[in-house]
């Protein structure tokens, strides 16, 4: 690499350095020990984190030295290695805090799920970037989706639901590149909303809501034969909602699809949208009922609890809700300016479990208050907006897709991690990038970013 051809984005580097420093200091206060006040003491998390920061910086430097073509050429191989590592976990993996997702290398535990993140970003960039148009065949679309789904499923099988969900965020990249139509994404979002609604309230109320929304659609779609439409629609829907509780669940699950099918056929035959809406209503009914069933019978107890605590259907400050409650107390007690560095009473008292990893945000919320929290959130927003603008200035499709992948992953971690510490999101154990303690996490997030910086630094050189 020659100096006149490389244009390293120093803003990104600066934000990165700021974030890891904040993280290191946060871990120092989270894991503070009277016996070892030296911030570089290797026996505690803060000393180790310093080591990982050093390792990450070295790796970052190495990444800058390597030729960019390495990443494009080896994208599939890296992806393959990552998948292999994920499979190896099932054979050699060791269980740490409830999930079998770690591989031990002597003193260093590696989590392949972390490495799979940047590998998947690379392979998506490589695969989608290889097309020169925005028109894809169905097969191409499916392959792109499969590239995301394979690691997702493998990670889900390791009981790492949080990390698996991260890959879902990459669907935005597919949308950005035109592989997934926007309507699919919208339906996905609506499905999630209906999912939550079905968990938070009885089935009847959820369906009543659906009925109202569809009624609105009918009313908005013109006045032709409105009374007739309303009579048909209301009779069917009201009848269904009132009779549903009387029927056995299994019977219901047989009858509903049949009814849905019948109404779809009628709507196709008569070319009437009213019947299509009724069919949609039945589909929603099946969905809501199915979610209810899955929540009660398929999900494991701790997953139910986490969702239940978040939705407020389970009130339990001693048991499952303990983490969130203590975390909220710690952050809420910070006030405007916080209690001062190293003076957080909740942090020092070890009231919040997993303080230096998943709940690291508590230390910032408590000791630096709203101002500090806002500053950190601002730093993250700056990072992500910067990456988006970096993505948009690329000539290379590869780099742009990769950059979008990076943003999506960081954004997902950011929302979920901070959201769970303040009770907005369910507690799914994913770290806060660059802040949380953990060698595996920090190194992989660093690689993720440094590859982007490397790719961006040569934006004028190649047109890939």
């Amino acid at each position: 690499m020659s100096s006149q051809n490389t244009h390293i984005d120093w803003i990104l580097v600066l934000i990165y350095l700021l974030l890891v420093t904040v993280g290191w200091l946060a871990i120092y206060t989270a894991d503070y020990s009277e016996q070892h006040p030296e911030i570089y003491y290797m026996g505690r998390n803060y000393g180790k984190q310093l080591l990982w920061i050093g390792v990450s910086l070295c790796l970052g430097f190495c990444i800058q030295i390597l030729d960019t073509r390495f990443y494009t050429a080896f994208a599939y191989i890296i992806y393959g290695v990552a998948l292999l590592a994920l499979i190896m976990v099932f054979i050699f993996g060791s269980t740490i805090s409830g999930s079998k997702s770690w591989i031990k290398f002597g003193f260093f535990n590696m989590q392949p799920a972390e490495a799979a993140k940047f590998a998947t970003c690379l392979v998506l960039a490589k695969y989608i970037g290889s097309f020169n148009t925005n028109f894809y065949t169905l097969r191409e679309r499916f392959i792109a989706i499969a590239l995301i789904l394979i690691p997702m499923v493998l990670i889900r099988l390791q009981e790492e639901t949080g990390s698996a969900l991260v890959f879902g965020a990459l669907s935005f990249v597919l949308y950005r590149e035109g592989i997934l139509p926007g309507s699919v994404l919208l339906i996905g979002v609506l499905a999630i909303m209906l999912f939550l609604a079905s968990l938070m309230m009885p089935v009847q109320y959820a369906m009543l809501g659906v009925m109202m929304v569809l009624l609105l659609v009918i009313l908005l779609r013109g006045r032709a034969k409105l009374p007739q439409k309303l009579v048909i629609y209301l009779t069917v829907t009201v009848l269904t909602i009132t009779t549903a509780p009387l029927l056995d669940e299994i019977v219901l699950m047989v009858i509903l699809p049949i009814l849905a099918l019948i109404f779809i056929l009628i709507s196709i035959y008569l070319q009437r949208s009213t019947y299509a809406l009724i069919a949609l209503f039945f589909a929603c009914f099946i969905y809501v009922k199915g979610v209810d069933y899955i929540y009660n019978n398929v999900l494991q107890r701790h997953q139910q609890n986490r969702i239940g605590v978040l939705l407020g259907t389970i009130e339990d400050k001693r048991g499952v809700g303990y983490n969130v409650n203590q975390s909220k107390i710690a952050i809420g007690s910070g006030g405007l300016y916080g209690k001062g560095y190293l003076d957080g009473t909740q942090n020092k008292g070890n009231f919040v479990p997993e303080l230096s990893t998943d709940f690291i945000f508590c230390t910032i919320g408590e000791e630096f208050g709203f101002v500090g929290s806002a500053a950190l959130i601002g730093l993250f927003v700056l990072l992500m907006l910067r990456i988006i603008s970096v993505a948009e200035r690329q000539n290379s499709r590869f780099t742009r897709i990769y950059a979008y992948g990076v943003v999506c992953i960081i954004l997902f971690h950011f929302i979920i991690n901070i959201g769970m510490t303040i009770g907005l999101m369910p507690v799914i154990g994913i770290p806060l990038p660059y802040i949380s303690y953990g060698g595996s996490g920090l190194i992989n997030f660093s690689i993720l970013l440094f590859i982007l910086i490397k790719l961006d630094s040569e934006r004028y050189m190649y047109l890939r």
């Binding site: 949308y175 952050i331 405007l336 009473t345 009231f351 601002g378 907006l385 948009e392 000539n395 954004l411």
Partner: protein, 691 residues
Amino acid sequence: MEPVNNKQIILQLVVLLAAAMLLARLYAMQIVDTTYKTLAKDNVVREITIYPSRGLIFDRKGNLIVNNLAVYDLMVIPRQVENLDTTKFCALLSITQEEFNRNAERMKNAAGYTIYKPQVFIKQVPAHIYDRMQEYLYQFQGFYTQIRTVRQYNCNNAAHILGYIGEVNQKQIDTSNFYRMGDYVGISGVEKSYEEELRGERGIRYVIVDVHNREVGRYKDGEEDIEASAGQDLRLTIDMELQAFAESIMQNKRGSIVAIEPETGEILALVTAPSYNPNLLTGPNRAAGMRMLLADSLKPMFNRALMAYYPPGSTFKPLMGLVAMQETGIGANYYYGCNGAYRLGRRTVGCHYHASCFNIQAAIQHSCNAYFCHLFKLFVENYKFNNVSQGLYKWKEYLMEFGLGRTDYLDLPALTGFVPDGNKYDKMYGKNRWKAVSIISLGIGQGELGVTPLQMAHSTAVIANKGTFVYPHVVRPNPQNPNSKYNKKHKVSINPKHFNAIIEGMEQVVLYGTGKSAYMPGLNICGKTGTAQNPHGEDHSLFIAFAPKDNPKIAVAVMVENGGQGKKYAAPIASLVIEKYLNDSIAPYRKYLLERMTNANLLSQRPKTISYASNGEDDDDDNIMTTILMPYTTPTTPTLTVPEPLSTKTTEQISVQPGNTPSAPLPIQIKTPSPPPALKPQPINPPPDNN
């Protein structure tokens, strides 16, 4: 470059919206909602109470009587205990293995036991064991000592005045917002009545604890800590030398001595016998001491000086004379012929033979029953009053001025005594079915009248001071405090000129009359004997006195249960107490008297000696709720001969209204079955106190 900017904007919007959502939530949590701050404080801040040291108590002369002694509670944090060598540990503490196990068991079963919190392993380790233990305690991880204070008494006397302390009970915790579980509170004596002064103010230290309740530091560097302030010291008015002297005289007797300085109302000595050593009720053996005292058949916990009701008998006559002179207008030279008895209608109150009473001095000197019965009748049936009830009410008003029938003025927990009024007799006889004659024995201090020794002493002090008085008290008030009721002088509504004759009479009692045994040259004692009949054996011996006659320095009431006539024990004892106080020592030629009084043993119940004045009739003219206090029943002395069955007891009065203090033994009430009394006219059997 591809024209897909709207999608870029969507992602940017999502980023900004997510950040805004998080910030909004953080704003609501950290700035708007303040409950998290209190929750956080509840989480980590613990209050540690710092106990103030209780106020000290000094006597009249400034000697320290009650102080605080440091003892050590051996505490343990179970979680920190490792490899405990129990044999060594037990040897160090001088306890057996069983005791060790018992303590461990008790600790584990206590409420609020957790292995993280300090628990009391052994309470109140004595100092000598503590000294030894301190050196080796480092070998036993998790154990440490915590200082506490207990009361230490530097004397063996005045137990009932000082009282004792104990842990608060649930009721006190509920009704007061000061006390908390485990606090010490005064239970009797000045410890109780001056509790608010003595207890001081607790301090609070705030510390930060971690999730396991371990202390990790000070909260705000101790800014909000509150210093404990020690309790106020008390200066008693009790002269401990006199108190000890009086207590030693009263050994092996039941009764009490109360001495008051008339000018100031200060109580110099307040003796009740039998008493106990206050050190029994402090320290680690408090429970054992308490059990022992409560089991004692002599009831040493019962404070006779303040809680036992006695009929004042003839000691009441000076008071009766005073109120009669004030109310009926008779002069000091009023003559009433005594024909050996007071006869009214079909009733007779016997008297003994003595010279005619040409004035009230002589009546007091001779303790003439007829004279004072007559005065009582003159009083209550005075034309001023519409009926006897009204007269009796007026009579009661006067007595209340002298402190009878109430104790609100005293700074110790005491019973009120009983002064009857019309209601009592309305209930007894029926409305308007009684007259002066029915209640004539009140005039000579018998009947339903119930007076505590303290009240006797107080009324004597009032007489000695010719009507002006300060309420009696055992703790010196702050002289600068104008609100203190003990800094104010009061006056009874008796014309001061009436006192002279009465005091003259009381002087003659000691010089020539019934109280000659109290005579001591140079002291100028004025007194009055009394003999209170009772159904439990020998009469109670009573004597009230003050000295010197002019400018009196001390007023005394002595009460010796079952002591016989007033002159027999009470009068000499009173004179000894007065001599001790005024001369500071007992004259050599009176040592024999002191010895005789000290050595007399009146605890054994003795048969009543048949008095010459008693005509042997067992007529009980009042249907009486005869109330007998437990102390008299002596259940553990079955060998004693009880001379007469209870139902045939001879006298009218007896002790007491039901006491309502929790610490006093419950009275047993025996209703003597008798026909409606008013229908059966009978002569009153006069009290034999006329010598």
